[in-house]
Symmetry: C2
Subunit: 217 residues, 2 copies
DNA sequence: CATTTTCGTGAACCAATATTCACACTTCCT
DNA sequence: AGGAAGTGTGAATATTGGTTCACGAAAATG
């Protein structure tokens, strides 16, 4: 009908794209289905975006800016390592609840290969990687972190746990997998955050000494 | 032409399928390409397997039996928790080196959704989930594990770290991501295993007490 | 108000690919 | 050896899905 698209519609298109890429993968998502979900025609997708790849890039940038915003708030606020970790965990948990399909899309992206994978990893992970590494190195210098480990490994393991937390929250496969560990007593998000913090606290601070050791039974 | 397939050829077909599913995903892998890689015609795929789904299931079962074998050896051998953890880490590291495409295929599988995801998670993860949970609960009863945390969470976090380790070893995206943490000094597998064990050891054994605490600066 | 430009539409086109099937070659049986 | 049964082949078929484009409707222009 010729009327120009509103800002809300453009947003709707990107969200429809994210949902589709999240559900069916970069290759599996269909442009026709995306257009239908966004209540526009396929033609308009190709007016605004050169092709499927270009559209996907737009969806990704749209999502990343929301994520960066959520994390920046925590980084500005906290300075003690464990409080920082707690803040990040909380912020990511909220993001999972607000935008589950974004997380699912990130997960789909991890199946890329070759140069494509490198470029995407750089774009998506560079922010948090540098953020965590700098923070953790600083904490070690301040004495808030054990000194017998390379801080880069800490940042890496920390991020590994956070990624799995997000996937376990949003992706069907990882949800089903988590259910296997839950058994009869299901976990709630608060409980999960609390236990992960306990786990991290000891991994962060405890150092093996020759004085402290348990019986060798 | 017309000669019956040898056992080696049947193996070759399954490996070609695994490589294809690993590279392009369940949906993206093409039967024609699989046949070409396995040096057989498409027709034979449909003689041995009803359809693509059936063939995929055969590939999965083939791979899972190899994985179970690798893990069973460790479970039978070790009984002390940290030695067990070290054995599992080592065994999975070896498996990654020997069969990287199998790990990549597992990763692709995690993008499934709905009932499919549940069924696959059950099939793939149930073995390790039960294994780790039982082992860790036992270790806690024996006093090898801190008592202030639910053992199920330990098993879960432990497996989370192991999954990420495997993906970081085999999948392009996760390799690129790990490189961001490595910086200029790349890590070798031994170093990684060692650092992960240190990380786990403190998380496993350290308990917060009111006596020990650091300055609040 | 007439004309031009911009924008959205969706049927049509085309490339990719899962699946089938008539054929040919091998093996087995008598 | 001769025929029957079994097995692999790959061109042909049908379907799916990305992309294009001629059309019509809305805004902009004068």
């Amino acid at each position: 009908m010729g009327k120009k698209l509103t800002e809300a519609q453009r947003e709707q298109i990107l969200e429809a794209g994210i949902a589709a890429f999240a559900e069916h993968g970069l290759h599996g998502a269909g442009m026709a289905a995306i257009a239908r979900d966004a209540h526009i025609s396929v033609g308009v997708l190709y007016k605004y975006y050169a092709d499927k790849e270009d559209f996907f890039q737009a969806c990704l940038r749209h999502s990343l800016s929301a994520l960066e915003e959520a994390l920046a708030a925590v980084t500005a606020r906290e300075d003690k390592l464990l409080r920082y970790a707690a803040g990040i965990i909380r912020a990511l948990g909220d993001f999972c609840r607000d935008h589950p399909s974004h997380i699912r899309m990130y997960h789909q992206i991890t199946t890329a290969s070759g140069d494509r994978a490198r470029a995407l990893a750089e774009e998506i992970e560079a922010v948090t990687a540098r953020l965590y590494t700098a923070y953790i190195a600083e904490a070690q210098a301040q004495g808030d972190l054990r000194r017998d480990m390379d801080p880069r490994f800490f940042a890496f393991f920390f991020d590994n746990l956070l990624m799995m937390l997000q996937f376990s929250c949003c992706c069907d496969y990882y949800r089903a997998r988590m259910a296997l560990y839950e058994g009869e007593g299901p976990w709630n998000p608060e409980r999960m955050e609390e236990e992960l913090l306990k786990f991290l606290e000891s991994a962060f601070t405890w150092e093996r000494t020759d004085i402290v050791h348990r019986d060798e039974r």
